[in-house]
């Protein structure tokens, strides 16, 4: 028998303790000490999560652990409480498992940074927040983690704080997330007034009685989607994620690829029952996801910064997950969350290893031929690239094809667009692989392989990226979609989706995808290995290509549409509102007071006869008034 009430709170509290201790002793701790402590805290969390997982009874559905009263006034009782069920356990294992590997990796990566202890403190704090996010038993506790991870993301993007552009990127990430949070807060207020509670379990029960397409539910779910687009970097709130690459690379791996950005996906899965009742919202999600998948993948084709390519790739993959959510395939979305956590963390850490090997170089035009110099990094990166491109039997193959099949069932046009996205993905990933590891070396630094603390996580993640597909092996390959059925015990809505395509259709779709992906890889090989084609200055490109290389100029568009007008508004309101209205209003009062005073002062002449006269006049006037108005 596992004591969930004691063990579950420990999972987030250990990293919190780590964050506080390391934070307090950050000047006395070296990178290795701080890193070891931080890793141990997350590792312990992983171990406890495993115990909870092993002792979890799927038949019971889930356990709620109430920690503290929180929003407790008459008419409202929202406690700080955690929920352990199949969904939160899956996320806990991903967060602590991948988190442990990335913490371990960071010991090597941040070894020479004088503020390594601060880094580990923040990384532990992030893990705490992420665990609160996935373990919250109600929307508001999830929101605690939701905002917390946003803050940690801000702190870690701006980790090297003397660089103003990094600080700008950090603020941009936070503010864009906050725009999404407006939706999140409004959704929570609406749901609270609709159901009288924010507990997931209670809402799921009560929602069952709601009408299909109820306008309030549609509104609530659309608002939740707004929150999710912010956190999960979807159109239109995605531009912060590529900029977030300003942070140290392990941060990009943990926060901006494997965990935090999947929070939006998680939220929709958590609220699956609500979304099932709001088909309009689902349609919106499908198209937001498709647009994001395609747009980001296209940008990835022409980027030259190794981390930026991966960042746009992440945005694009999150789009695939969104599409899965929109088609009601929550199991498929969570499956892709899991495999993506493996291979994208792997790719980022691999990129970090390359950057580390080259003394900080991130431009792929100055790399090349690293295959023989950083052998482990190369092999693991290859595994990650193959997995994300969906090569047969690797983890990404199963999870992405599942999404594609669901998309086809939803509408062939979505499938076609996602297929194009998949081809883009294969192209930019192999372009990246070829330009970094093949050909001849084009840089100056002396490449060297990374230490064992960095390569070990790479190897583990590479193995997971290769075999991760078994978690949810489809029927076609002799499996029984284990993950989906496991998650289905958390909320009924999750396991509802069924593929009704015939095996022949499924195989045909798969075959088409595979042939086209293979052709794309051959094309990439021809372009980047046989000849080494490097992208030059965008200004010299043909117009459309230039537009893509300049990221569809969306950043410029936002600057022009929002940032500058807002700054103008701030100045103008100050000039007109304050200086023309508010201050004159106050001064008017003062002026009236002074004028009145001056006028009245003239009466105080000091002349005794005038005063006597005034007094007599006053008495007479009052007498007259009394006499005239007296009814008697």
């Amino acid at each position: 028998m596992v004591n969930t009430g004691v063990l579950a709170p420990l999972v987030p509290l250990l990293p919190l303790l780590g964050a506080v201790v390391i934070g307090a002793l950050r000047r006395r701790m070296g990178a290795v000490q701080a890193g070891a402590l931080a890793t141990a805290m997350i590792g312990a969390g992983f171990a406890i999560s495993l115990v909870l997982f092993a002792g979890f009874d799927t038949a019971a559905g889930g356990t709620t652990v109430r920690l503290l009263d929180w929003m407790a006034v008459t008419g409202m009782d929202i406690p700080l409480a955690l929920r352990v069920d199949a969904l939160s356990l899956t996320m806990m294992l991903i967060v602590t498992g991948v988190g442990t590997l990335i913490h371990l990796y960071s010991i090597g990566y941040m070894h020479d940074d004088p503020r390594a202890a601060t880094f580990f403190s923040n990384l532990n704090l992030f893990t705490f927040c992420m665990l609160v996010l996935v373990m919250g038993s109600n929307f508001l506790v999830t929101f605690v983690g939701w905002e917390g991870v946003g803050l940690c993301s801000y702190l870690l993007i701006g980790f090297w704080y003397t660089r103003p552009d990094y600080n700008y990127a950090a603020r941009k990430a936070f503010v864009m997330n906050r725009i999404g949070d407006v939706g999140m807060v409004l959704a929570m207020v609406l749901l609270f007034h609709l159901f009288g509670t924010l507990e997931y379990a209670a809402i799921m029960d009560k929602a069952a009685g709601m009408r299909w397409n109820d306008p309030l539910l549609v509104t609530a779910t659309l608002l939740l989607v707004l929150g999710a687009t912010g956190k999960s970097a979807q159109v239109p709130l995605f531009t912060w994620l590529p900029d977030a690459m300003a942070g140290p690379t392990p941060v990009s791996a943990l926060i901006h690829a494997a965990t935090m950005v999947t929070a939006g996906i998680f939220l929709v899965v958590r609220g699956s029952v609500l979304f099932e009742l709001a088909p309009f919202t689902q349609e919106v999600i499908v198209w937001v996801g498709t647009a994001t998948a395609l747009l980001a993948a296209s940008i990835g084709l022409l980027q030259n910064d190794i981390k930026k390519v991966l960042a746009y790739s992440t945005v694009s993959q999150l789009g695939y997950m969104f599409v899965a959510l929109g088609t009601g395939a929550y199991g498929a979305a969570m499956f892709h969350v899991t495999t993506h956590a493996f291979f994208k963390a792997l790719l980022f850490l691999g990129a970090g290893s390359v950057i580390h090997a080259l003394g900080g170089e991130q431009d792929i035009r100055k790399m090349g031929g690293l295959k023989g110099k950083v052998r482990t990094t190369y092999l693991t990166f290859l595994a990650g690239t193959a997995a994300i491109s969906g090569l047969p039997l690797l983890s990404g193959f199963f999870s992405k094809d599942l999404i594609m099949a669901h998309a086809f069932q939803h509408g062939p046009e979505v499938f076609v667009l996602l297929l194009i996205g998949a081809l883009f993905t294969a192209f930019y990933m192999f372009r990246l692989l070829f330009l970094v590891f093949f050909g001849t070396y084009r840089g100056e630094a002396e490449p060297h392989e990374s230490p064992i603390t960095m390569t070990l996580p790479l190897v583990v993640l590479a193995v997971l990226s290769v075999v991760g597909g078994v978690l949810n092996l489809p029927h076609l390959f002799g499996g029984n979609e284990a993950l989906k059925h496991y998650l289905g015990t958390a909320a009924a809505g999750i396991a509802n989706e069924e593929l009704v395509l015939s095996a022949a259709t499924e195989i045909a779709l798969m075959a088409v995808t595979l042939v086209l992906v293979a052709l794309t890889i051959v094309l990439a090989h021809a372009r980047f290995v046989k000849r080494t084609t490097l992208e030059g200055d965008p200004a010299a490109m043909p117009p459309l290509k230039r537009l893509v290389a300049e990221r569809w100029r969306i950043d410029e568009l936002y600057a022009r549409l929002f940032e500058r007008p807002y700054a103008w508004l701030s100045r103008t309101l100050h000039r007109i509102g304050e200086e023309r209205v508010v201050v004159p209003l106050m001064n008017g009062v003062g002026t009236v007071a002074i004028r009145t005073g001056q006028a009245l002062r003239k009466l105080q002449t000091g002349n005794a006869s005038f005063h006597l006269l005034a007094m007599a006049a006053g008495i007479i006037i009052f007498l007259l008034i009394t006499l005239l108005t007296d009814p008697r």
Binding site: A72, L186, R571, V582
Partner: protein, 477 residues
Amino acid sequence: MTALLLLLIPFVTATLLMVLRPTERARGIALGSTLASLAVALVLWAGFPGGTVTDLHTAWLPSIALDFSLGHDGIGLLMLLLTSVAFPFIIGAGYGERLRHPSLVNALLLYTQCFLYGVFLAQNVVLFYIFYELSLIPVFFLLLYWGGEHRRSITVRFFIYTLLGGMALLFGIVYCLVQPGMDGSMDALGRLQLPVGTQTWLFWALFLAFAIKLPIFPFHGWQPDTYTVAPMQGVMVLAAVMLKMGLYGVVKVVLPAVPDGALYWQRTVIVLSLVGAVYAAIIALRQHDLRRLIAYSSMSHVGVMCAGLFAWNHFGLTGALFQALAHAVLVLAMLYITGALKERTGTSGMGAMGGLKLRMPRLAVLFMLVVMNGISLPLFQSFVGEWLVFNGLWEVDRWLTFMAVTTIVLGAIYMLYAYQRVMLGPDKWQLEVHDAGLRDHLVLVPLIAITLVLGAYPGPILELVDGPALTLLSLFP
């Protein structure tokens, strides 16, 4: 009778300071006095049985319905606690600012504290008004004699503007007093039942003073300048405590006396408050002086609070009252940090800062924690109040909630920008400054601890206001 100590301790200490002028030890004595008051307030809290406690009732001038009657309910106790918690920090901030004539400064501060306690304890309307106006006087002198550049004109403007509101309030109170059946007690205000037509205009007579004191848009003209030139401790008193008199006055005077008037003007006031909240948040972005930024930021927070009060439902009311305490703690910390920065850099202009984190990593961390509270991250105190207010506004009109919620984005924009301008970036000025020391930690760590503890476990404070809010609401269907 314990409550009487709250009036006596600061009053006697202040008088002694005035007479004896112990220049060197003035701050220490004042600090001791405020800590003693804090202890008394905590004793009151510990022994608080709920409901309304009458502490003292003596007839004074029956001809003008003036009784010396003191008492408190949960809301009053919250305000007493707020005042008691705030003042040790306000006095403590004086160790950094080092104004001339410390005995006088501290005496004036303690007089203010005494009168503020009076406001929150008074159970008689006239007594309330007397304390309300008295509290302005020491602050006036503090601003006039210890302020910065242009202090004269700015202080006079502040004084006249506030006084104008005070006159309107006096008129309104007198009008209420001459009504039949009015015995002058605060409770009796709730039984007036004036005709609706009267209430609609009387509302503004009563509300104007509080609207200026809070201040809500567009009556905030006095605030940015005053915050900029006043001595730091004066600003702390104004922002952390005196502003709450406005909220308290609305809850205890305006809403009970003219409920129909409040209902009639409800939308107007909420919209003004929220327009002000959004407007101030937008303007805050372009401020170059930290104190002006705090002035606008404070106005933005107060707008949300005032909107919560006028939502006139349980969530709005409890949220706004909880937020009163949260805001006091927040603004004290913000102002203290501004003072600490000025102490080191000689200015509160952000243009002359930047990259200070390199020099002051500890202060940077403390500042960050305060900023987190300022942008209402969950598990910080501000979030609790705002969440409740958002829910309260929802029951009035969903679009009002939307307006209020936008401030969480706008707040993040100006707060993080300000933080960056002060702390982050390259070490432009190469200032030789020292990091946060013991004194700074003694002030900031407890303030931050309060925000975190009450952010995660707001129960004790919510409990205080839950009952009185229900009682208030039950008076008017």
